[in-house]
């Protein structure tokens, strides 16, 4: 047994906090095992004295079979003190970085590499938060996340696409989010541990990040690591939060008392629209990749329906829109793609790298015939859903309705 990881490998410790969670912990552990397989991280599951001992034993067995470390606290400590065990373990065993993570997540395979790469970019970075469908106000939301990105393959695909595009880019955020956040151990040494005053949890990472900020350090979000996160799963199941809450009001009051200008800082950050722009950029990347990979249809429709009805991406032109913008949909994501006056099929072909499989017409404005002509000129099949075949032309009051 070696207490200290060797240089160049095993330099990051990932601490996963577990408390119950039979519905989602197995998927989390399987994804965590892939992090260790990459050889750049060790994972320890910190079981905060789950009340069901049989389930705890099952988690321990899963950890053993997956090659993960497992530690069950002799009594329930609450999130801040339990996460402190991860930080203390990382300091004690000589790791360079430490990641604290919830267990209602599925990690992408590139998680550690992406977060560490960002942290190494700038020594003034205190925390690096992974991106996610559920990461407070910084989320890149998905319309149906459990179904669309809740599997290992799906989250790997999304995270790898984002990593290929964003690399080591990061955006500043006022505070990190403790659902999956990396800190260097040097920073932990300087800023300290999470404050146990936050009891069962929530806001402890806000306090930590604001302490780091007060020391002149920065908190950032890394768009290259995208984690599937259910969000508040354990807290609501065990009554830490009411069903309508996303944080603990008592702990928020402590933050307000300690950092009276914090909410103004959040509002000022929101006004910069940096997250909004990042989100738009990422959605465009994901939609164009899906279209290139799986094909797409061009649709002209006044109704921007968000759901998918096939494996392909959809690019929808709203004829009533004041701006010429396509709304693209796929896999629970939506993006806006501006278009100019040149034929839309041509622009899309250049943008995606392949032509649309078909044009689907769902409305009757002057835009539709123009698009039909453009597509027919390019040899793209047209499916006009408003045109009845002659055989089924409806008859009303004895008068045949002919197809215009």
């Amino acid at each position: 047994m070696s207490d200290t990881p060797s240089v160049g490998e095993g330099r990051t410790l990932v601490g996963v906090l577990v408390y119950g969670g039979e519905e989602f912990v197995p998927a989390c552990l399987e994804s965590a095992a892939r992090l260790t397989a990459a050889g750049d991280a060790d994972v320890v599951v910190f079981d905060d004295h789950t009340p069901d001992e049989a389930w705890s034993a099952s988690i321990a067995a899963q950890c053993e079979s997956l090659g993960l470390g497992y530690y069950r606290s002799p009594r329930n400590l609450g999130i801040p003190r339990n996460m402190n065990l991860t930080l203390l373990r990382a300091l004690d065993a000589g790791y360079d970085h430490v990641i604290i993570a919830n267990s209602d997540v599925v990690f992408p395979e590139n998680l550690v590499a992406a977060l560490v790469a960002v942290a190494k970019e700038d020594p003034t970075i205190a925390s690096v938060t992974a991106w996610s469908n559920h990461v407070s106000a910084f989320s890149l939301e998905n319309l149906n996340a459990p179904e669309n990105i809740g599997t290992q393959d799906a989250i790997d695909r999304i995270s790898n696409l984002l990593a290929a595009h964003f690399g080591t880019r990061s955006i500043p955020v006022p505070v990190g989010v403790g659902f999956c956040m990396l800190m260097s151990t040097a920073m932990v040494r300087e800023v300290g541990l999470f404050d146990p005053i936050f009891g069962r949890g929530y806001c402890e990472e806000v306090d930590w990040c604001l302490r780091a900020r007060a020391l002149g350090y920065r908190n950032v979000l890394a768009p290259a690591a995208y984690v599937f996160h259910i969000g508040n799963a354990t807290s609501k199941a065990y009554g830490v939060l009411e069903h309508w809450e996303s944080s603990d009001p008592a702990n928020e009051a402590i933050i307000d008392l300690r950092y009276p200008d914090y909410r103004q800082v959040l509002e000022a950050h929101d006004r910069t629209r940096v997250v909004h722009e990042l989100r738009a950029e990422a959605e465009r990347v994901l939609l164009l990749a899906a279209a290139a990979e799986l094909g797409y249809v061009l649709e002209v429709s006044g109704l921007g329906r968000e759901f998918d009805y096939g494996p392909e991406a959809r690019f929808v032109l709203d004829p009533s829109g004041t701006r010429r913008t396509l709304r693209a949909f796929h896999g629970g994501y939506e993006a806006e793609i501006p278009v100019d006056a040149t034929p839309v099929p041509e622009q899309l072909t250049a943008l995606v790298g392949r032509p649309p499989r078909a044009l689907v017409v769902r409305e009757r404005s002057a835009v539709a015939p123009r698009l039909v002509a453009e597509c027919e000129a390019a040899g793209i099949p047209v499916s006009d859903e408003y045109r009845y075949p002659q055989a089924v032309v409806p008859v009303m009051d004895g008068v045949g309705v002919t197809d215009a």
Binding site: S2, P5, V43, G67, G69, R81, L85, L88, D92, P196
Partner: protein, 93 residues
């Protein structure tokens, strides 16, 4: 665990040690905070008592002033002065 990670028993032993050491520190911090908060509570309780006394004094002074004012307004002299003021205003029109 990966090849360089400790065996579970070693991990449990190490984390138990770290947890115990930190629990003792947390206890010291919590104790210091409890002492500090108790002192602040005592100070603030004194302050509340002092402010309540000030409020009672102020209320008593206000009650005295109100009674004096009522007595003044009820006096014949005040009513005569008020009446003469009204007559002067009417004559001035």
């Amino acid at each position: 665990m990966t090849s360089n990670a400790p065996a579970p028993s070693g991990l449990a032993r190490d984390v138990d040690r770290l947890s115990l050491e930190q629990a003792l520190r947390d206890f010291e911090i919590a104790n210091a905070r409890a002492i500090d908060l108790t002192q602040r509570l005592v100070d603030l309780s004194k302050e509340v008592t002092r402010l309540r006394e000030q409020v009672i004094d102020a209320q008593m002074q206000a009650a005295g002033a109100r009674a004096e004012n009522d007595a003044l307004r009820a006096s014949t002299t005040f009513r005569l002065v008020e009446l003469s003021s009204k007559i002067r205003r009417k004559l001035a029109r």
